[in-house]
């Protein structure tokens, strides 16, 4: 019988295994339970696939949407509804990254101890409703987007897109691309704003960049092709090449450095891949340094050719420039600071900041942006097909209380320093 006593220990081991598995499951439930409870099949908190609890506010606590048993209740103000719709999401689920979907685990009010037995949760978004309204009004029905991020924290302060619609009084036929959040999900030809990327590569790869004398005759031949400028820019140093946005200079710099180096910078600065941020995924842009002819490579350094840039990615890059090359990864949730990510070395970031400041001073005029201490770059992206160019404006402001970097695009807006800059000024003025 003593033999059996020892053999019976297999049953004890079996029991302990069961207990260990149960403990392991408890640990999983502690970590993943929020996501499990937020599953749409959960009849406790969903009615026909729609969450029935939770409140979404802007960064200042202004309620943008309350979810109830009878459906989603949006803001009472029509402009606010339209300006924030893409951040909250529509009830039919056509909008990709609404907070209703992205933050549903927070909206359920789930906790490990109480499950979903308590009240729904409140999600405070990082965006400012005030800035959203200003941006949406400034876009004024034109297709375009405004992206503003806090470069010290990575919080997204404004992520406006147009055209949108009022979810309560939606027109019968929605404008084209009304569901698309252009700030994070659309990629555009960048034009001159891409010179900031070429500049970053040049600062680190061309040792005598700041000593060099550049000359522009309004056009330059590279590899059998021709790069043109809007004017003859004459003799200049690199700062003026940026201020005057000389295609010839940046195109030849790109050709000089070669496709591989340009590709590396476009990649490492985040322009070519999807970026996971808290609450959304920013779409990938496009840059290809692997070109068969030098002229195409040259044009790509001036933001033409087949380059594509997503507005939020550009704002993120400007944030890195403003913040010494390093940022907290972006977030749509207030108070949530993403992982530290370094895009540029500190000295390169400073060089870029200086040249953007120089550009504002000598090209755009500081008086046009009173009180902003602006560093910026405009872009006028030719898109062909007889259409007006896309208008870009990106940069950052030096302000302790409002450390914001931004990017604005207005489709077919014409000159960057015109439409897009006006729009940026309106939004920034609301924020400071």
């Amino acid at each position: 019988m003593r033999k059996l006593k020892y053999r019976a220990l297999v049953v004890a081991i079996f029991s302990l295994t069961v207990l260990a598995l149960l403990g392991f499951f408890g640990w999983r439930a502690y970590n993943e339970g929020g996501a499990w409870a937020a599953y749409q099949a959960n009849g406790n908190i969903y009615r026909s696939g729609k969450l029935t609890r939770g409140v979404i506010t802007d960064r200042d606590g202004e309620v943008l949407c309350s979810l109830t048993q009878s459906g989603a209740e949006y803001s009472a103000d029509g402009l606010t509804r339209a300006a924030t719709l893409h951040l909250i999401g529509d009830t039919a689920g056509n909008i990709a990254y609404g907070a209703v979907r992205q933050f549903r685990a927070d909206l359920t009010g789930w906790s490990f101890t109480d499950g979903v037995s308590g009240e729904g949760g409140t999600v405070r978004l990082s965006v400012s409703a005030e800035a959203q309204r200003a941006a949406y009004s400034a876009l004024d029905g034109r297709s375009g987007a405004v992206a503003v991020v806090n470069y010290k924290t990575g919080e997204i302060i404004c992520c406006a897109t147009s055209p949108g619609y009022d979810p309560i009084e939606a027109p019968e036929t929605l404008p084209d691309g009304a569901y698309l959040n252009r700030a994070i999900s659309a990629a555009y030809t960048p034009g001159s704003v891409f010179k900031l990327v070429t500049m970053a590569a040049a600062v680190e790869n061309i040792p005598d960049l700041y000593e060099r004398d550049f000359h522009c005759d309004g056009e330059a031949s590279i590899g059998g092709g021709k790069v043109t400028c809007v004017a003859k820019h004459g003799d200049m140093k690199i700062e003026d090449a940026m201020a005057k946005s000389c295609n010839c200079v940046f195109a030849s710099l790109a050709a000089e450095m070669g496709g591989e180096i340009m590709q590396n910078y476009a990649d490492s600065l985040g322009f070519t891949s999807k970026i996971d941020v808290t609450g959304a995924v920013i779409a990938a842009g496009r840059y290809s340094g692997d070109k068969s002819d030098d002229i195409a490579l040259a044009w790509s350094g001036a933001g033409q050719s087949d380059d594509l840039v997503v507005p939020m990615t550009l704002a993120r890059y400007c944030a890195a420039i403003a913040n010494g090359g390093e940022i907290n990864e972006l977030s749509f949730k207030a108070g949530e600071h993403g992982e530290k990510t370094r895009l540029l070395s500190k000295s390169t970031a400073e060089r870029l900041g200086e040249v953007m400041g120089y550009t504002v001073k000598h090209s755009y005029g500081e008086d046009n942006f009173p009180g902003l201490r602006l560093h910026a770059k405009s872009g006028t992206a030719e898109i062909g097909g007889g259409k007006k160019p896309n208008s870009w404006f990106c940069g950052y402001i030096e302000n302790e209380g409002a450390p914001y970097a931004f990017a604005v695009i207005i489709e077919n807006g014409g000159w960057g320093i015109g439409e897009a800059a006006d729009c940026a000024r309106n939004v920034l003025n609301v924020l400071i």
Binding site: R2, V11, A12, S15, F25, A37
Partner: protein, 563 residues
């Protein structure tokens, strides 16, 4: 919030664990062997192994003694026999070689190898122990308090469900918990009147049953009447089996017929079963449906559990292996893969208990693995089940349907639950059987659901604890086999529904809704009860001397008993 329910449940579990698992119980002493030097070996079981092996009960460290030499066995009437277990040097009784089993009496000398031992049946020490036990049982306050706690637990559940389910179901609720309490108190009084004081296993089983009834009330309240009747049948089966298991001779006599009956039942099932939801494991007789495989589990325990002499004289387990293969094969053929897996796991435990050899177990596991691979490749839908295992969320709408919803339910309930009858999960098909852990977690909280798991684990430890003092190896193996049935079903049910094991659709013992399963769970408990040899504790164990006093015996025997 279920603070009171949690507190009572925890208290019941802790009290039962202390009194059954941690109370140091004295060995029963049934006789002694004294060698020439005067060293005395106490015989603390009804089946004792003599040999050189460290696992022998009478261990004689002498080269001429085989590791497993001889077995000394007592029967119900107190008569002892000795058998040689194929030792190298043989055994002598009163100077003559032992060929087959032979009677041994007080004063007889037994020679094993070179060692000479004098046998004595002692009753004196047992009488003393018995006296102490009788005093204990006359106090018996522990069990009373346990019953009061159980009653409070059941009443709290009833009160909560009365409140949450509304007046329309008041009768169902009162019937459910009324029948639990009535049966619990009736059997408690029966136990006391049989002068037994151990009631821990029953209290835990009634507690689990009442949780199962609560689940049934919120998912399928009309079914509660059928379950109530099944509980009565189950509890009756339990006590009948306890009574039956008291007599080892009777058990040995009927062991094989019961196993044969089990096979026959499975055969009938195979031939005439109606397919229900893919698995053809249901029988309909006179409008009543039942799952024969649940009852076959009990036959399986009888078939697999054997006496010490048999274990060590016939070392192979071929017959039992064949029996198991038939069971597992039929179940697999009926597409009840979960139950097949349970039978197979229990087979492994029994095979190990009997052979002590990992090699045997390993070989059969290998064989089964091969068969499983063939089964999986032949039946694509089983392959699907395995494919989704661990990835339920990747196909939450289809293959991971049950698992993802169970996890959602568990998370929704938190630690304290949403309240009995207030969950959403019980409306999902088969939530109250295959995914019952989710229903309990959602409505009563993870703590209570986890404590239901502890209850089953408690049964398993009770079995392991019982083996230490079990009178014979039949009881030791049967207890462990029963515990393994519980544990395997529990593990597959709970962790299958939580995507930590493949989802096979088996029942949580006592808790899952299902009449046959409830009856079988109760019946199975008698095997664990029969291994509880604390003095005057178990209804399934005869106290020393009882039988001898009642039954007429040859005069010589009587004299021995008194000596």
């Amino acid at each position: 919030m279920h603070f009171a329910l949690i507190a009572i449940m925890a208290l019941i579990l802790i009290r039962c664990a202390f009194s059954l698992l941690f109370s140091g119980s004295k060995d029963e002493v049934w006789g002694t062997l004294v060698d020439k030097k005067g060293t005395s070996f106490e015989l603390t079981h009804w089946e004792n192994l003599i040999g050189r092996s460290s696992g022998a009960d009478v261990r004689i460290n002498n080269k001429s003694v085989s590791p497993v030499h001889a077995a000394l066995v007592r029967d119900n009437e107190g008569a002892w026999t000795v058998a040689d277990l194929g030792s190298r040097d043989g055994s002598l009784l009163r100077g003559k070689a032992i060929k087959k089993r032979q009677r041994i009496n007080t004063g007889d000398t037994l020679s094993v190898g070179g060692a000479e031992l004098t046998f004595t049946r002692t009753t004196k020490k047992m009488e003393e122990n018995l006296e102490i036990a009788r005093e204990d049982s006359s106090r018996g306050t522990g069990a009373w308090l346990g019953m009061v706690l159980l009653t409070a637990f059941v009443c709290l559940l009833a009160f909560e469900l009365l409140q949450n389910l509304g007046g329309a179901l008041a009768v169902n609720v009162l019937f459910a918990f009324g029948s639990v309490l009535a049966l619990a108190w009736a059997t408690f009084i029966l136990t006391l009147s049989a002068r037994r004081r151990g009631f821990e296993l029953e209290i835990i089983a009634f507690m689990l049953t009442s949780v199962g009834f609560a689940v049934c009330l919120s998912s399928d309240p009309e079914n509660i009447y059928k379950l109530g009747i099944c509980l009565a049948i189950g509890v009756s089966l339990y006590f009948s089996m306890c009574w039956f298991l008291r007599d080892q001779k009777r058990v040995n006599l009927l062991r094989v017929p019961i196993a044969a009956l089990g096979l026959a039942l499975l055969g009938v099932n195979l031939v005439s079963a109606s397919p229900l939801l893919g698995a053809k494991n249901w029988l309909y007789i006179g409008g009543v449906s039942f799952q024969p495989s649940e009852i076959v589990k009990i036959a399986f325990v009888f078939a697999g559990s054997v006496g010490l002499e048999r274990i060590f004289s016939k070392r192979n387990v071929v017959l039992f292996m064949v029996f198991s293969a038939i069971c597992v094969g039929s179940l697999a053929f009926m597409r009840d893969f979960g139950t097949a897996l349970i039978f197979f796991t229990v087979y492994l435990v029994i095979a190990f208990m009997r052979s002590g050899s990992f090699a045997t177990v390993f070989l059969s596991a290998l064989g089964a693995l091969l068969a499983a691979v063939i089964a999986i490749t032949a039946r694509p839908y089983i392959a699907d089940r395995f494919a989704i295992w661990g990835h339920a969320w990747e196909d939450a709408a289809n293959l991971g349907y049950q698992q993802t919803r169970t996890m959602t339910a568990v998370a929704s309930g938190g630690l304290f639950g949403l309240g009995g009858g207030k969950g959403w999960f019980d409306s999902i098909f088969a939530a109250d059987t295959d995914m019952v852990f989710g229903v309990v977690s959602e409505e009563y909280g993870f703590i209570i659901a986890a404590m239901c798991v502890f209850c089953i684990v408690f049964f398993a430890f009770a079995a392991v604890r019982g083996v230490k003092n079990a009178r014979g190896s039949f009881y030791a193996i049967a207890a462990c086999a029963a515990a393994s049935f519980y544990l395997t079903a529990l593990a597959l049910n709970v962790f299958g529904s939580l995507d930590m094991l493949p989802f096979t659709g088996v029942t949580f013992p006592f808790v899952s809704k299902g009449g046959t399963s409830l009856i079988a769970s109760w019946g199975m408990l008698s095997f664990i009860k029969a291994a509880d040899t604390r003095p005057m504790a178990s209804f399934a164990v005869l106290p020393p001397g009882t039988r001898a006093k009642r039954k007429k015996k040859p005069k010589k025997e009587e004299a021995d008993e008194e000596a």
